[in-house]
Symmetry: C2
Subunit: 115 residues, 2 copies
DNA sequence: GATAGTACTATCCTTTAGGATACTGCTATC
DNA sequence: GATAGCAGTATCCTAAAGGATAGTACTATC
C-alpha cells in the first residue's frame, strides 16, 4: 500500500483519498471534463454533448468544477453575451490519477467479465 | 489527459474510471481496507476500530468488498465459530490508484487551504 | 442463572443525489 | 409579432445512501 501506518499518517492519507474521491465523484463531473477536453464549450453546447444531463445538474456541476478550479467561466461582453467554459491548467494535475483509475477499471472489468 | 479522443475510446475510458469510482466510493470502504491492512480482523474488532460505523453498514460494505474480491471471509469451525476478514492479493492492485489519489488529495488540500 | 461477547439482521428514519418539468429574461431572426 | 436560441433558475419528486436503535441465536464466564 505504500501508506505509513502510524494512526495519524493513516488518517491523513484517508482524508486525502476521500478529498480526491469527493472532487471526482458524482455522475457528471468526468463527462463534463472529457467534453471540455476537446476545447472550450458554451452551456447549451455541453447540454447537447452530454446526453442525459439536465440544465440543473449541468449548472450545479459547472459551479462545483469552477470552485475547484478545474474550469473557468468566461463572459464575453458581446450582445447577446457569450459564456464559455474551459479547462484550466490545474485540471491537468488530475491526469495521472485519472489514468491510473482508467487502467485499473479496465483490468478490473476484464477480471469480472472474463470468466 | 493521455486519453484517446475517438468517441468510443472516450466512452470506454469513462466507464473504466466510473467502475473504479464505484468500487472505492462510499464512506466506509477505504477505512475498512486500511483497517485490514494491519492484518486480519474479526467483525467486532473492525466495528471497534472504525469509529462511527454501524454493524449494518459494516456488514454491507464487507459483503461488497468480498464480492469485488478485495477481502476474504474465513469461518473457523471452532465453538463458537470465529470469522476472520482479510485482504486478498487482489486488493494490492489498488495500491497505485490509491497512492495517486492520496498524493493528489494532499496537494489539492494544500492548494485550497494554503492562502 | 445473569451478564457479556460474537456476528450479525431488521426496522425505521433522515439526508443527499439525481431527475422531470416548467419557466424566465434576453436577443436575433423570419 | 411569432418563433427560436442562449443561459440558466425554480419547483417538485424519487431513489439511494447512510444513520439510530433494537433484537436474534449462540456461547462462555462469573
Amino acid at each position: 500500500m505504500e501508506i505509513e501506518h502510524t494512526p495519524e499518517a493513516c488518517t491523513k492519507s484517508l482524508m486525502a483519498v476521500r478529498d480526491t474521491l469527493d472532487v471526482l465523484n458524482g455522475k457528471w463531473k468526468l463527462p463534463i471534463i472529457i467534453a471540455l477536453d476537446s476545447g472550450p464549450k458554451r452551456f447549451n453546447e455541453l447540454e447537447r454533448m452530454i446526453t442525459g444531463i439536465t440544465p440543473k445538474l449541468l449548472s450545479k456541476e459547472l459551479r462545483d468544477l469552477e470552485a475547484n478550479e478545474f474550469i473557468t467561466r468566461t463572459v464575453y461582453p458581446t450582445t447577446p453575451v457569450k459564456i464559455e467554459y474551459a479547462l484550466t491548467g490545474y485540471s491537468g494535475t488530475l491526469s495521472r490519477v485519472i489514468a491510473e483509475m482508467r487502467d485499473w477499471g479496465i483490468q478490473h472489468r476484464k477480471k469480472i467479465t472474463g470468466r
